[in-house]
């Protein structure tokens, strides 16, 4: 059973937590320029696709999906979930230090709780080991195991 992750896998988990929050912030920045979209003016959404901020946001969200699925290919869902939760912390910190939004004591407490949660899970095993491994299933599929 493997408890430690290679540096490359830590990089992918870092990409999972950073890309979603930064991507959302970029979308938010772009949509602020576009203005409110009503049901009668859905054409504005097509227009929004060509806004550079929105484009950058979409690229990052595609990157998020790719790194998220890569992480799920070698780790449990319950192991990867805290990494995505770290994104809430990144958004709050971006708001505090980049957009200079005030962060209330409640928010700092929330940030602390999420960071603790990530610490608990990151210390444990990344993958549940099941008695029938992939290797055995592959053997059965190929017929060599019989």
């Amino acid at each position: 059973m493997k408890h430690t992750l290679s540096p490359q896998r830590y990089l992918i988990l870092l990409a999972v937590s950073l890309s979603a929050s930064v991507g959302d912030s970029l979308l938010k920045r772009g949509m602020k320029q576009i203005g409110p979209v009503s049901l009668g003016h859905l054409g504005l959404l097509w227009h929004a696709l060509f806004n550079p901020w929105v484009m950058a946001g979409i690229v990052l969200l595609i990157g998020f999906f790719a790194s998220y699925m890569t992480a799920l290919s070698w780790a449990d869902l319950t192991f990867v979930m805290p990494a995505t939760a770290l994104g809430y912390v990144v958004i709050a910190l971006l708001g505090r230090f980049w957009l200079h939004e005030p962060v209330s004591p409640y928010r700092w407490a929330g940030i602390l709780l999420i960071v603790c949660a990530v610490g608990f899970v990151a210390n444990g095993p990344s993958r549940t080991e099941h008695p029938s491994t992939h290797h055995e299933l592959d053997l059965m599929d190929s017929g060599n195991g019989r």
Binding site: D76, G110, I114, A117, G124
Partner: protein, 136 residues
Amino acid sequence: MHFATMPATALRSWSCILFVAALAIAGECLIAAAMRSLGDLDRLRTGSGLLGYAGPIRAVLASPLFLIGALCMALNFFAMLFTLSIVELSLAAPATASLTYIGNAVAAKLFLHENVDQRRWLAAVFVCAGVFLLSK
């Protein structure tokens, strides 16, 4: 939101929130199951460089579990848009995030048979509490 005076509105808000969370849980579990059955994507690479990613991408897109999961996530996106039009963001965002989070831990234990040990349960509770504090 006036929960005490308008129970019908509150009921509608919470059914929307529950529906959004349920779609997210179904989508994430299906995608996680698909990725687990594919195994480490690095093994599927067809060569070095960007072209080498054709192998993993083809394998993922050919997985029915992934396709149903992605459909759930797409429906989740539109359900969330609808929900945001009748429920304020400061309730809808943390409520769906927390419910999805706890629901995912339960579903991962029940359906994916993941070993959700004490520290993972504790983490799920901490994240939910943290998300609610962040929304204050």
